[in-house]
Symmetry: C2
Subunit: 300 residues, 2 copies
């Protein structure tokens, strides 16, 4: 198989589902993730080990993860908020972990009830445990392009936080447009500042929400400045439950349609993604919300 | 006033409304167009002088046009299919006319019941009359990026048709992604072929549908290759009634959000466009369908 030029990091089962009100059964989650892997997705964020009462949709994390079919090239990552979550993630057999913090102090406090500093302190035992288990570590730099509470976010705040996360031990940073406000000029500004600070573009991913229709324009800008990993959620499910006005994640099928048409190899099959997208939309009891899901691929 | 760097050509009242099933009253159309002009839009395609039974939504063209408030910098254009339509357009006081044909023979036959050659022959008396009235002439090159009946469209067909339309007397060509399939690579391919043939980029506009989420990425690519005019419809209304699976036009508010954020001057006020978009959505009895219309501008 030819090596993909761009990595697609699927966030539907975690970031997508966590903000959906309709509860999805563990069986349906297993099926959804199986369909995603069948489509060629090799990095799938499967669930979150937050407290069960914090996000009821993901309360079955301990049961879900052991049920996923292991495949040679597929990595299942999980969100881990603290040392207790890390114990559960290890017990359940996670391949990789994700940490979540924010470039905006106001968002950190509203979303995590912690300052940015406190969130980094809480990560230390998690990262130590992940390292000793040989796990890959990803960190979300949320609100990197704007905060629903404090407005514009300075790129230097993104750089400072990113440097701290890398020093802490993160292997990849997902620079996130949590409220979906970025335009290409913002991608160049923020990613440009990260590169100017000496951060390797191979450690960067972009996490885009299509709230204002700019996500694919931002993907193009991201590729131009050297980003080679993009987050997406099948069917465009989710959004941020804490970010007023935020629409869903960039839909995986919309991203794959663009990259296929651009001739960029991803190793992901569009029809396979559409199968997964249709399945999870049905499980959520609503029509598929992505553009390509509604219009169909082309040529048909 | 600083000169806009990019022209926004509003197609909501014609291309948008013509494929909407809910009939809008002439009063509401006048109000819609007034709100669009209030927002700073200077080029508004107001209606179409097709036969009244062909598009019932636009059957009031003769009554609508004389009711529009004339403003120094606002040009009202109208679609004209034939010599009879041209007589009506002149009588009603149109400032400019639009011709409509296709790069795909299959689409021309399905949509206009004419070959491409026959459509050009039908334009000749129309263009002659427009010239003698000093009217500006725009021509739509539809299905320039793909045809719902015959699939991919060769860029040489777009170039050949464009050259013929310019020789015929068109002042501007709107290169149209009727079914909304283009990616940035296609914009560069098709516009690149037009420029390579010696066509002045100042005579080109891009007419994009956001069917597969790529419209704003395509706008960015269009600007990169020198296009300085983009079509859009407030609230993203419309689509092509003849193109299966086609979603609405690129929403004017999504386009203005992107260009504002990019620092590109358009002379168009986003809040004003949102007023027009909300008004026409209410008149159509449905929620606003654009991304920015649903999420709101940013910062709020």
């Amino acid at each position: 198989m030819t090596r993909p030029e761009v990595r697609i990091y699927e966030v539907g089962p975690r970031d997508g589902l966590q903000s959906e009100a309709t509860l999805v059964s563990t069986d349906d989650k297993v099926r959804f993730i199986t369909l995603l892997a069948n489509a060629g997705l090799q990095e799938i964020e499967a669930t979150s080990f937050v407290r069960a009462d914090a996000i009821p949709q993901l309360a079955d994390a301990d049961q879900l993860l052991p049920r996923l079919e292991r495949r040679p090239r597929v990595r299942y990552s999980v969100l881990v908020p603290n040392a207790r979550g890390m114990e559960r993630a290890v017990a359940a057999g996670a391949d990789a972990i994700c940490l979540f913090t924010a470039a905006s102090e106001a968002y950190a406090r509203a979303n995590m009830n912690m300052s940015i500093d406190e969130s980094l302190a809480a990560f230390e035992p998690v990262v130590a445990a992940a390292r000793s288990s040989g796990m890959w570590i990803r960190a979300y730099v949320s609100t990197a392009f704007g905060c629903p509470y404090s407005g514009e976010v300075d790129e230097h705040a993104v750089v400072t936080l990113s440097e701290r996360l890398l020093r802490l031990g993160a292997d990849e940073l997902s620079i996130s447009d949590t409220v979906g406000v970025a335009a290409p000029v913002d991608v160049r500004r923020v990613v440009g500042a990260l590169l100017a600070a000496g951060i390797d573009p191979q450690t960067l991913a972009l996490h885009l929400h299509d709230t204002r229709g700019t996500a694919l324009a931002n993907v193009m800008a991201g590729m131009e400045v050297g980003v080679r990993c993009f987050d997406a959620a099948a069917s465009g499910i989710g959004g941020s439950p804490y970010a007023p006005g935020a629409a869903g994640n960039l839909a995986t099928e919309d991203l794959i349609y663009l990259l296929d048409r651009e001739g960029v190899r991803t190793g992901v099959n569009l029809d396979g993604v559409l199968d997964a997208a249709r399945f999870i939309s049905e499980a959520l009891g609503r029509p598929i919300s992505s553009r390509v899901g509604r219009a169909g691929p082309w040529p048909a």
